[in-house]
């Protein structure tokens, strides 16, 4: 029997860059193929080529034996292909129910009213991905994981034969990952062919039937997940080593006045309380991690500190009260946040984004800083004139972090920096943080739910749950006292 999805000789060039080169892969009915590779290796591009969102320069894509390469994406969708994008993109003015219904409508100009069975079907699908309790809410009010569920619901609405899933686990907690894994496994059980991309190596390995690795747009290895992970090249270019906890010299500055003091801070969004009387302090040169599940309030806390959302309570930085200061003033005082949403200037090049970050620095300092950052993230160097909008997910994350560092902040706030990064980059980032700690005066506040990354870089850890802190202590005690739900 022919495989449901067959790709061969697939090639895609963006200007001088060959993003995908002579790729081949096949996925059969009832099979999950894991596609792994470092950031920018071309995984998402392969998916977009299959879906018809990008047109291949060469090669063939067959769905159930029918050639679809070069067709517009709406026709490929109707041939039975569905995609879950790396970034959620719901219709923001429509409710969850309407968003799912949309995916069920026929592509006709004459169908003015949705048939009644569409409503029922939409509810069925929502129940399947556990969205049934939020049917009438707007996507903007949903927690992160539910947005990903919505994305999944829309992709499977038409019951496609081939499902392409791009980084479903990014930003999810381990409980949610298990949930999503089960859902994806159920697609397999129903005979769909699933192509899965994710950097959560453990979860991918546990789920897939086969794995295929790519690097710089090219095939490098294929086989069982175990075999691929053991492959020499895969280890070198993708997995890297384990993240090390460096021995921490206790900070002599610990008993000096804290750099950042947050006292009794609350934040309301409309009626909902997102942060409830939260207090926290960060000493100069201290590295503090705030861990918490999705929706616990980490981003809200950081936004309150950066002056991006109005809050009650007191926030002092270096002894000065920040109440009433604008976000721009706070940034100039030395608090720089690298937001989860990245906030890059999409139409500007990588280099321009970085230069903007270093604008207030003297020429030679910014040049040195730039050089150091490009060494840290070499891929940004090779992409320096590319528009930020077209970078791969992981490349965008690196750029966001690099731009924040360009500003030479006194207090760096990193919100979920690991989102979408390949293991090997995590290792580099980890080393970079250690390097900063040894050689600069920087203070870091790190928000993460990935505790394997958060703990090795923390002098102290706070646990945030349902809008307030439930635990504070050293990383060593964390595993024993608070880690159960994270580890």
């Amino acid at each position: 029997m022919a495989d449901l999805l067959e790709v061969s000789g697939l090639t895609k060039r963006f200007g001088g860059l060959v993003a995908v080169k002579d790729m081949h892969l096949r996925v059969g009915a009832g099979e999950i193929l894991g596609l792994i590779g470092p950031n920018g290796s071309g995984k998402s591009t392969v998916m977009k080529l299959i879906m018809g969102i990008e047109k291949p320069n060469a090669g063939s894509v067959r769905i159930g034996g029918v050639e679809v390469a070069g067709m517009p994406s709406h026709r490929i969708a109707r041939m039975g292909v569905g995609i879950v994008f790396q970034h959620s993109r719901p219709l923001h003015r429509q409710t969850v129910l309407e968003n799912i219904k949309l995916a069920l409508l026929p592509d006709s100009l004459l169908q003015l009213f949705a048939a009644s069975h569409i409503d029922d079907r939409a509810r069925e699908i929502a129940a399947r991905v556990h969205l049934d309790h939020v049917m009438d809410r707007l996507p903007g009010t949903l927690p992160f994981a539910d947005l990903r569920r919505l994305e999944l619901a829309r992709a499977i609405a038409r019951n496609p034969k081939v499902v392409l899933v791009d980084e479903p686990f990014a930003g999810l907690t381990s409980g949610e990952v298990a949930d999503f894994s089960a859902l994806i496994a159920s697609f397999r059980a129903e005979g769909h062919a699933v192509l899965l991309v994710d950097h959560n190596v453990k979860s991918v390995a546990a789920l897939v039937d086969r794995a295929l690795a790519m690097y710089l747009g090219e095939f490098i290895a294929e086989g069982t997940a175990d075999a691929v992970m053991k492959d020499e090249t895969v280890r070198r270019v993708y997995l890297g080593g384990a993240i090390q906890t460096a021995a921490r010299t206790p900070l002599e500055a610990n008993n000096s006045a804290p750099l950042l003091e947050v006292e009794d801070v609350s934040v309301f969004y409309g009626k909902a309380q997102a942060l409830q009387n939260v207090s926290l302090h960060v000493g100069a040169r201290e590295f503090v991690s705030v861990v918490g599940l999705n929706g616990a309030g980490k981003t809200t806390l950081f936004n309150a500190i950066s002056g991006l959302v109005p809050s009650t309570g007191k926030i002092r930085f270096d002894g000065h009260d920040l109440t009433g200061r604008t976000g721009a003033q706070i940034a100039r005082a030395g608090i720089v946040q690298c937001p989860e949403s990245r906030e890059l200037f999409g139409e500007m090049s990588v280099r321009e984004n970085l230069d903007l970050g270093g604008q207030h620095l003297p020429r030679d300092v910014s040049a040195r800083q730039l050089e150091w950052l490009l060494e840290l993230f070499p891929i940004l160097k090779s992409r320096h004139s590319q528009a930020a909008r077209t970078l791969s997910g992981g490349e965008q994350q690196m750029l966001a972090i690099a731009r924040a560092l360009m500003m030479q902040p006194r207090l760096l706030i990193l919100d979920e920096p690991t989102l979408g990064l390949a293991p090997v980059i995590l290792e580099q980032l980890s080393k970079a943080l250690e390097n900063l700690r040894q050689n600069t005066e920087i203070t870091v506040l790190l928000g993460e739910q990935n505790v394997t990354f958060a703990l090795p870089h923390a002098d102290r850890v706070y646990v945030l749950e349902h809008a307030h802190f439930i635990w504070e202590g050293s990383p060593e005690r964390f595993a024993v006292e608070a880690g159960a739900q994270f580890l």
Partner: protein
């Protein structure tokens, strides 16, 4: 707001408006008659901008095409009004398609720029062939819709009501949802199996149809077709301001905005030059401080 409630409010407003001729002067009726045609221009524009996400800087291209086709047929071929109006709106759909098919391939602001250039072209053609078209002065029409103020008023009110109902219904329908998806995120809509170009083209056709229809009706109300009333860039700008003022994505708000603009402009007219300034300043203030427009802001308050 639920659909039944919208319907109820709209029905009350329409009935109240229909009773106006028994209470107000012919001068006021004339003003409102004009405003209702403008209301249809603005609603058609909102379907394209608010739903399909395409900014048409040249609504008066579609309006003018419909108006002049109808006018010339009447003037030269002595075709009855209904025939002129039908062929006029058809011309505006065809002209619109000729413009939109290549223009929709361009992304970003380029679509809008193309539509802008189209208006300038149309205006130039009318002036260049002044011998045929009447040029800047305009084209006299042998026929008019009616010579009675009240009849003219009712015709335009009925026309706006029906057009509004159709456009509003369309925006709330299944195709309206697909259209919004195409406007907000064309890539996603494509991946969900929707032919984005087809849906946007259809929206453009509908918008062109009603614009052309309203343009043709308007000149038969006025008895003359001139660039200043149906083609000039300024007319298009008024339509756009009206729609944004009334509330993007609401369709019905666009009609409110149009009525406001025309009535306010007339009330302030004795002030001379400064009246345009005041109306523009008010429009700017609304857009800056209530980006939802009249109806958008109202609905938002109601929803809380």
């Amino acid at each position: 707001m639920s659909n039944t409630k919208t319907f109820a409010i709209a029905a009350i407003v329409v009935v109240a408006l229909a009773c106006l001729p028994f209470g107000v002067s012919g001068y006021v009726l004339g003003l409102l008659t004009l405003a209702y045609y403008f209301g249809v221009f603005a609603m058609s524009w909102d379907l394209l901008f608010g739903f399909a996400g395409e900014v048409n800087f040249g609504p008066s291209f579609l309006i003018g095409l419909g108006a002049y086709t109808a006018g010339m047929l009447n003037h030269y071929a002595h075709m009855p009004i209904w025939g002129c109006v039908i062929l006029g709106s058809l011309a505006s759909v065809i002209g619109g398609l000729l413009l939109a098919i290549p223009a929709l391939r361009l992304s970003g602001p380029y679509f809008g720029l193309t539509t802008l250039v189209a208006v300038l072209l149309l205006q130039n053609v009318i002036v260049l062939f002044a011998g045929w078209t009447g040029g800047e002065i305009g084209l006299d029409l042998p026929d008019v819709l009616s010579i009675d103020d009240r009849n003219n008023y009712w015709i335009s009110l009925a026309f706006m009501t029906i057009s509004g109902a159709i456009l509003f219904g369309l925006s709330r329908s299944a195709v309206g949802l697909i259209l919004q998806a195409s406007g907000q995120d064309a890539i996603q809509a494509g991946a969900l199996g929707f032919n984005v170009t087809k849906h946007k083209l259809a929206a453009f056709c509908v918008s062109a149809l009603f614009s052309g229809l309203a343009g043709a009706m308007l000149i038969f109300y006025e008895g003359t077709a001139s660039p200043g009333t149906v083609v000039d860039i300024g007319v298009g700008v008024q339509v756009i301001i009206a729609a944004v003022l009334g509330g993007r994505r609401t369709i019905l708000g666009a009609a409110l905005g149009a009525i406001f603009l025309i009535v306010a402009g007339e009330i302030l007219r004795p002030l001379g030059e400064i009246s345009t300034f005041i109306v523009s300043a008010v429009a700017l203030a609304v857009i800056l401080f209530f980006p939802g427009g009249f109806l958008g802001t109202l609905l938002h308050r109601g929803a809380r």
